[in-house]
């Protein structure tokens, strides 16, 4: 992009920000996310029923990024996150543990077996009687079925694997269940979402529900949707998992974050995922 266009983009954003009070979207509203010129993703849609009182429309974080960041995600060769997806694929086929198995030994081709997984997690696991994230399921498989060491919950290995699993669902609408056995966890997540915390005394909603589209310092606040996770962040050139982002956000408001992988963060992940029901799974997305 030329310098001139980028200046023009910034000017356009600033102008839109000044007329769009009340937290409306300010980036290029007409931009459409099409991957590799083939796969069209839903980046804005009507809010799910449980959100109707607070939001009319939900927007993917992609909508709020600058044009060149948006473009990076539109081509898998330009998307730096895809390098890590490849590494996840290598790990998928790698035999590990006492059972002498790889992921592929049971699940074969992830394009078949992992399709739709990212869209419906976190999900209730009936046998274990607990709510489980994709990360939790990966480690369950590694320890119980492969006899291998679990990955650290937030780690390069885990992010690669989760990104590879997410890509198999790319384009499918997020559709996590919020009732039945997960109802209690969902309510707990909602409670956490709306509870102010930290020295700055902010809740998730303070920024991502009441002020999305407005500036926070030099950056646009998004709605905090997690349909694009794991996300490749340009600021430190690595993949970020959902709960690592939660952790970073709470640290930034100078609160005391829950542990990554804790039941509290898993409940929050379910609730935040449910706020994006209807948006396309984008992982691995590109963000700043």
């Amino acid at each position: 992009m030329t310098k001139l266009t980028s200046i023009r983009t910034i000017a356009a954003l600033a102008f839109a920000g000044s007329i769009a009070l009340g937290g409306a979207v300010t980036a290029d509203e007409n931009a459409e996310l099409v991957i590799n010129g083939e796969l069209a993703l839903v980046t804005k849609t009507a809010a799910p029923d449980h959100l109707k009182d607070s939001l009319d429309e939900i927007y993917s974080g992609w909508v709020y990024r600058e044009t060149d960041t948006q473009a990076m995600q539109m081509d898998d060769f330009d998307n730096p996150g895809m390098v890590f997806v490849d590494l996840g694929m290598d790990a998928w086929n790698k035999v590990e543990g006492t059972e002498n198995k790889s992921c592929a030994s049971c699940h074969n081709d992830p394009a078949e077996s992992m399709k739709g997984v990212r869209a419906t997690y976190p999900k209730w696991n009936e046998a274990a009687g607990e709510l489980r994230t994709v990360e939790g399921q990966v480690n369950h498989c590694r320890t119980k079925n492969m006899g291998a060491e679990p990955y650290k919950y937030v780690s390069g290995d885990m992010a690669n694997m989760v990104a590879m699993i997410a890509v198999q669902s790319r384009g499918m609408p997020v559709n996590v269940a919020i009732d039945g056995p997960v109802k209690a966890a969902w309510e707990q997540g909602k409670e956490i979402y709306y509870t102010r915390t930290g020295v700055l005394d902010l809740s998730c909603a303070s920024c991502h529900e009441q002020n999305y589209g407005n500036y926070i310092r030099a950056d646009h606040l998004s709605q905090g949707q997690i349909n694009g996770f794991p996300a490749y962040r340009l600021k430190d050139a690595r993949l970020h998992q959902v709960q690592d982002r939660f952790w970073g956000c709470i640290r930034d408001v100078r609160g005391e974050p829950y542990d990554r992988g804790s039941p509290e963060f898993t409940a929050l992940e379910l609730y935040v995922a449910s706020r994006g029901n209807g948006l396309s799974v984008e992982g691995a997305s590109v963000r700043n």
């Binding site: 060769f77 330009d78 730096p80 390098v83 490849d86 590494l87 290598d90 050139a237």
Partner: protein, 109 residues
């Protein structure tokens, strides 16, 4: 050979004669600078890709020398004029002596 090294190239399969086509290349590589220290204070040995070349039917298109302080997974994007049907050969040279290759056919007409 270093772990997780995988060359990638994106080139068009077809081009008009004399057209300048965009070539994108990326190789996943740690690009360890040799200046960092590990926890016990000893230097982590340098391990980088030190040269990258692209040839078209034996003619050199680019020849790049690389040094430490180039970030991980080096990405090069450049244009090449394609005069006739032929093969683009891409070569990366690792510090440890490994050589990684990729090739793409470009058809004119």
């Amino acid at each position: 050979m270093a772990d997780g090294v995988k060359p990638r190239v994106k080139a068009p399969a077809k081009a008009a004669a004399g057209e300048a086509v965009v070539l994108k290349t990326l190789i996943s590589h740690v690009m360890e600078s040799g200046q960092r220290k590990n926890k016990d204070g000893s230097l982590i040995p340098r391990s980088i890709i030190n040269r990258f070349t692209c040839e078209f039917n034996g003619t050199m298109v680019v020849d790049v020398e690389m040094h430490p302080a180039i970030s991980t997974n080096p990405y090069f994007e450049f244009e090449a004029v394609i005069p006739a049907t032929g093969e683009l050969k891409f070569t990366w040279y690792d510090d440890d002596g490994s050589v990684y290759n990729d090739a793409k056919m470009v058809t004119v007409g």
